[in-house]
Amino acid sequence: MPEEEQPKRRPDASMSLLADLFAEDALDPGYARAATTNRPTRRGVGAVGVFAMLALAGLLVAVAGLQVRRHEPAAVKERQRLIAEIHDRTAQTDELQRRMEAVRAQTERARTAALARSAAGQRARQDLARVADAAAATERTGRGITVTVDDGRPAGDDMGGTDLGRVYDQDLQILVNGLWEAGAVAIGVNGQRLTSTTAIRAAGDAILVDYRPLTPPYKVTALGGDGLRDAFAASAAEQHFRTLRDQFGMRFDVHKEHAARLPAAVALRLHYAQEATHR
């Protein structure tokens, strides 16, 4: 062994950082050397230096403590401000939403009045009502069912907390498609109306419907005739969710609703029609 042949100096002596640290000589080697050189007590730096250094150390500690304490309220304040701003903006959005609904109702009335004058207008109004209904542009009430799904318990800590019991966007897609298939005429997720082009997607941990994040539990309300519950019970979607419930403890409840109300879809955009710029 080379170490035994030359025990004085190992080749990695300058790099044995951790070995030095764990050995007993964590003390600055300078002290030992100063003690062994045994020079006459030269008071070059002396007690004054030690005093100054320790005063400096105390100052540092005190300043750091004060710094932390001073910053804490600032962080809290910042957080409060952000929360207040969130509430503020949400209230603003709600207000705008209400105004939009009011304006939309006004437009609706004006249009109805305008179209009621002629026979062609009457026909157009009926067409419009039918199309608007299909496009989820109008509020809708009626009988239906509400399906509530929620994440299951994380599957045990011994498994490393797998996410198998979570509701994914695909699950909601299967559920919604199953409800359409079962004959639903209008569907809303957590009070948000679905149109034929509404996307149900995932972004990170959240499920987005029409690019708005949902918070669990997910309540899917579907309006339809009396047969809706039975038709859904026989569908593949219900089978899918029964399996999920039994295997992963996911929540899955179906309730009949006697008078459910679904709002009009919020973001209706015109895809093909264009505004007439000149007559």
């Binding site: 964590a26 300078g30 005093f51 100052l59 540092l60 500690v61």
Partner: protein, 110 residues
């Protein structure tokens, strides 16, 4: 006794003067404190072992603090940010621990 008075006076000064730390200096403060603590415990241990030396203490205190600050600065410039400071804290922390353990052994013989 004198070093203890110095420490107390330093803390008192900090509380009385209430100095504001400039923003560019703030990242260096915690690491400088850890380095200072390391030098302090090293000095205390040397004192207990009877080999304390003023010059070694002052030089190790100053150089420890400066090197720690430099490492933080270097980490910032290299873009590894806090990782290098973590390294400094780990190394100095181990040293503080073993020095404190030596002090404890000397004081309590356990």
């Amino acid at each position: 006794m004198i070093p203890l008075i110095g420490l107390v006076i330093g803390v008192g000064l900090g509380f009385v003067l209430h100095p504001t730390v400039p923003l560019w200096l703030q990242p260096y403060l915690p690491i400088a404190i850890v380095a200072a603590l390391d030098a302090m415990f090293g000095g205390l241990r040397a004192k207990l072992e009877g080999i304390f030396d003023d010059r070694v203490f002052v030089v190790s205190f100053v150089s420890n603090t400066i090197v720690a600050a430099l490492i933080v600065f270097l980490g910032d410039q290299l873009g590894v940010g806090s990782q290098l400071s973590t390294g400094v804290v780990v190394v100095l922390g181990i040293r503080i621990f073993s020095n404190v353990a030596a002090i404890r052994r000397r004081l309590f013989r356990a």
